[in-house]
């Protein structure tokens, strides 16, 4: 089964954590604010109370974009 593989962005990199773990706990562990990211587990968008099982593929996707503000 293995642990939980987590894809992080900006810059793109991967970390492996042990599961099972709640989404909210995973984000605390990785130092993300809940409102600054989406968490996608095995291709499905999940809420903070969802449990992530061993062997899951997780993406922590940042949602904040900036720049010239256009568009």
């Amino acid at each position: 089964m293995g642990g939980v593989r987590v894809l992080l962005r900006n810059p793109r990199r991967e970390v492996e954590l042990s599961g099972p773990v709640r989404v909210s706990a995973l984000l605390r562990q990785l130092g993300y604010r809940r409102e600054a990211v989406l968490v996608i587990v095995n291709g499905t968008l999940v809420t903070g109370d969802a449990s992530i099982e061993e062997g899951s593929e997780v993406e922590v996707r940042p949602v904040i974009s900036g720049g010239a503000g256009w568009p």
């Binding site: 409102e35 989406l38 809420t47 900036g66 010239a68 256009w70 568009p71």
Partner: protein
């Protein structure tokens, strides 16, 4: 966690609404928020031809998708900024979306059309890249909308964008900028109507909308934008919002409701009287040449080129 509307499994929390929603209810919520923004601010009429400013990111693609679903006639305009490793994939997302929705995408390549990219243009005009980028986009979208006969330019500015810009303007008490910070700017001599239908949606919501609709978009941040002031304001507001959900939306909504009018009156509204057409491109300007044509000339390009767009 259950959907507050239908009790199915929720996919997203909305702390500012003290709520969580399932996929279908969330997509309906997004459509409803955009529809409300359009109606409240009289942004668009049903038969309007709309030009969406498309970057390949979550906001512009979500906006294009939502406007199409709401029945508007919408074309997209993508500007190739020539940012290495970033612009090409961004264009790819815009093209893929247009193809999937059988929508019309017009592309203007800054380097191919005007002879400079964001980096070289910024250096030639002694600007930061975000300033050269914003100036170029505003100019090209304005000219394209006017020359193409569109009724409005729609941009993907979301609630977080507007709240961050407002915070920056308030911190400097910049009344002139605050006076122009409206979700809809009417067409005036030489400028097209501009609308921001996403102002009721947070950027986490537009990102979630894309994920749930299966819209691939440019997730990576623009390499030119890292560490800019706008992102700093967003971060500050994010910290406040986390402790007190709803503050960001109230900050912006209450500005529109209670402060925007008095601020506009205090700032004065006669700035347009000193505008005249730029002799090079025809855009309104207070200078001899407009700021975009000055940038193009300094970068060694040709500012007189027309933009190849017409309302389809």
């Amino acid at each position: 966690m259950k959907c507050r509307a239908c009790r199915a499994g929720a996919v997203i929390e909305l702390p500012r609404h003290n709520s969580a929603l399932c996929r279908d209810c969330f997509l309906a919520y997004c459509r409803n928020q955009v529809s409300r923004a359009i109606d409240e601010h009289e942004m668009l009429r049903p038969a309007d031809r709309v030009l969406v400013a498309v970057s390949g990111g979550k906001d512009s693609l979500a906006l294009w998708d939502l406007l199409l679903d709401l029945g508007y006639h919408v074309d997209g305009l993508y500007i190739g900024l020539g940012i290495s490793g970033y612009s090409e994939p961004s264009a790819g997302y815009a093209r893929a979306f247009a193809q999937s929705r059988q929508a019309r995408l017009v592309e203007v390549d800054l380097k191919g059309h005007y002879g400079f990219d964001v980096r070289s243009g910024a250096a030639a005009d002694h600007r930061v890249p975000c300033s050269a980028c914003g100036l170029s986009k505003r100019h090209i979208f304005d000219r394209a909308a006017l020359e193409g006969g569109y009724d409005a330019v729609a941009t993907g500015h979301n609630l977080d964008d507007e709240a961050a810009v407002l915070l920056g303007n308030v911190l400097r008490w910049d009344l002139e900028y605050m006076a122009r910070q409206r979700p809809v700017l009417p067409a005036t001599d030489g400028f097209p109507k501009k609308v921001k239908p996403l102002v009721r949606l947070a950027e986490r919501e537009t990102a979630a909308y894309c994920v749930l609709r299966g819209i691939d978009y440019q997730v990576d941040e623009c390499p030119m934008a890292a560490g800019n002031r706008h992102l700093g304001y967003k971060e500050a507001l994010g910290l406040i919002e986390e402790r007190s959900p709803g503050t960001k939306a109230a900050f912006y909504a209450q500005f529109l409701e209670r402060a925007a009018g008095p601020v506009a009156a205090a700032a004065g509204t006669n700035a347009s009287t000193s505008l005249h057409p730029c002799p090079s491109c025809g855009a309104p300007t207070t200078s001899q040449l407009c700021a975009f044509c000055r940038l193009v000339e300094r970068a060694g390009g040709d500012p007189k080129k027309r933009i190849p767009v017409s309302a389809g």
